[in-house]
């Protein structure tokens, strides 16, 4: 069974780059062997991944009360619609909803890193940077292990 990692985010919005940073770090740690997509403003790539078979791990920054840098695992149902930093108002919830409505059967695992500053042009916070490194290491270990069908 294939496992695909999708990192979501925007390089221009501070902690919102977390998903991209994790994806790039995992690419390095796995020597380019893992199937990794970076999805910035356009969630079409995520929809395409969810329409395939296998498993999809999505990493994104999370905006919610709590400690910055905390790593969360989420159900797709926990992702709220509406507020996104991405283009054309298609957020993660909409992308998942479209893929499911079209019969996409890929198993979806959501990993979030709680961010603090999502302002345009803001640098990534230290807590989130450290969390990206920890999560990337954990995912790289996971991807190196054969997945049971």
């Amino acid at each position: 069974m294939t496992v695909r990692l999708v990192g979501l985010g925007s390089e221009l919005r501070g902690d919102d780059a977390a998903g991209l940073l994790v994806a790039r770090r995992v690419r390095v740690l796995t020597g380019g062997r893992a199937t990794i997509d970076e999805v910035s403003d356009d969630l079409d790539g995520l929809i395409q991944a969810l329409l395939g078979d296998g498993e999809v791990i999505v990493v994104d920054a999370v905006r919610s009360p709590g400690m910055e840098g905390e790593i969360l695992t989420l159900d797709a149902d926990q992702v709220g619609p509406g507020e996104t930093g991405s283009s054309h108002g298609l957020g993660l919830a909409e992308a998942v909803g479209i893929a499911r409505a079209l019969g996409g059967k890929a198993s979806l695992h959501l990993c979030g890193i709680r961010g603090r500053d999502f302002a345009v042009g803001a640098p990534m916070s230290r807590e989130v940077t450290h969390a990206c490194a920890r999560l990337a290491a954990a995912i790289a270990r996971l991807l190196e292990v054969p997945v049971c069908a």
């Binding site: 910035s40 403003d41 356009d42 790539g45 283009s87 108002g89 909409e94 909803g97 345009v120």
Partner: protein, 429 residues
């Protein structure tokens, strides 16, 4: 609505790119005020570029927008090359047109299918549309994928392509690599044709925009990359005269600058391109336009969904033609030595005319940058459309009227993130 003051407030517009809100005030049955409020933080790109190398705007301005980066890269490159006295022609220009057509395909497909179609098919959004019309949404995703494939192969990646530079490209794809796009593009063209036909059958409110329509124009190509600036009001000027003919001003309630021509609002984008350039579409696309009832142009913003579908069909046709005739440019880019001066560049982003101007010094440092995206140029016309919707829909319930107002804005596929960058910042304290 009755004889008292009513307010329609849409706090966050749905299915548009970026963050904006709408406020409408109606008093005693008359529309007093319509404000499209852009509250996305300004991007300061024009200020950011000052002091940078003349080779950098192609990469930096691509970050202004995630859905139309190629448009920024093209207008930036054209302006820099103009300043340095270099003209790109031949196979490099054809490769530029190919990647630009790819962007039109993916941007228009996203808008037609996931953002605009729900309005016409009674759906709240793309998820509901995927449930009620799954084959339609699959078609849209297939079209988008074909457009993204062009960007990825020619540009290096589908978002913020990295292979474009001043003078052309860092690497030109081989003929074999490009021919791998033929099959998906043939399928995309068939889907685009089907898109024209089903959108042409939709019901459209009868609205006519009387504002002047403005687009690029050349003698023998549908407006895309360079040319002169023409309008339905008789304007025919070189791109270098843009600043003398179009003015920008700050709005009190928006972080986007507003544009006018001779003090009046004007419209850029698919309706303008189609009305001014329809005779330069491919023959079969022209035939489909006539079959759709759009001969001679289109001034109904609700029918922009049909015009975008025609443009996708044209983009697929031209992309196939370019690939079939492709000669690998060698070298992949021209050398562009820096030269002190001012350069102007314009191209047709999916949403309309996108103008760049740069002043650079003798060693290639940028001293001044001006970027005028399409959406702020259209903002006043968009507000006028909303005013018409409210005036003609005062007997509707509040919720339905608010939705109609949002639809009127979505007709124009505004790119709010592109719109909000400017240099002047005044702080009252």
């Amino acid at each position: 609505m009755n004889d008292r003051t009513e307010r329609i407030h849409v706090g966050a517009l749905a299915r548009v790119e970026g963050e904006g809100a709408l406020n409408v005030r109606v008093r005693d049955g008359s529309v007093e005020d319509v404000r499209l409020e852009i509250y996305e933080p300004p991007r300061f790109f024009e200020g950011l570029l000052r002091g940078r190398s003349y080779l950098e705007p192609v990469d930096i301005t691509a970050r202004i927008c995630g859905i139309c980066p190629v448009a920024y890269q093209m207008s930036a490159a054209l302006a820099i090359e103009d300043a340095c006295g270099v003209t790109v022609e031949g196979p490099i220009r054809e490769l530029r047109r190919l990647i630009y057509w790819g962007e039109w395909i993916e941007s228009h497909a996203l808008h037609i299918y996931l953002l605009h179609a729900p309005d016409f098919l009674g759906c709240d959004g793309a998820v509901e549309l995927a449930r009620s019309h799954p084959d339609l949404v699959r078609s849209g995703l297939q079209l988008k994928k074909a457009g993204n494939a062009i960007l990825e192969l020619v540009g290096g990646r589908p978002v913020h392509p990295v292979n474009l530079c001043v003078g052309g490209f860092y690497r030109a794809p081989t003929r074999t690599e490009l021919r791998s796009l033929l099959d998906p593009l043939e399928k995309a063209r068939k889907t685009a044709l089907a898109t024209v036909r089903w959108t042409a059958a939709l019901d459209f409110p009868d609205l006519r925009i009387d504002a002047e329509l403005v687009s690029l124009a050349t003698a023998d190509e549908y407006p895309l990359l360079d040319g002169r600036i023409r309008s339905t009001g008789g304007l025919d000027i070189p791109v270098s005269a843009f600043g003398r003919n179009f003015t920008e001003e700050q709005s009190a309630y928006s972080t986007a600058l507003w544009s006018s021509h001779r003090g009046q609002p004007y419209l850029v984008g698919p309706l303008a391109r189609f009305t001014l350039g329809h005779a330069r579409l491919s023959g079969d696309v022209q035939a489909e336009a006539r079959a759709a009832g759009l001969q001679g142009g289109c001034r109904n913003p609700f029918q922009s969904i049909v015009v975008r579908a025609l443009e996708v069909m044209e983009a697929c046709t031209q992309a196939l033609r370019i690939i079939e005739a492709y000669q690998e440019p060698d070298p992949p880019h021209l050398e562009v030595p820096p030269r002190a001066g001012i350069g102007h560049g314009a191209s047709e982003a999916p949403r309309g005319l996108l103008y760049h101007r740069y002043r650079i010094d003798a060693v290639g440092r940028i001293e001044e940058a001006v970027i005028v995206p399409p959406t702020p140029q259209n903002q006043r016309v968009i507000e006028g459309d909303v005013r018409w919707v409210v005036e003609s829909g005062l007997d509707l319930g509040h919720e339905q009227l608010a939705w109609r107002c949002e639809q009127a804005i979505r007709n124009h596929d505004p790119c709010i993130s592109c719109a909000t960058h400017y240099l002047r910042l005044e702080v009252d304290s």
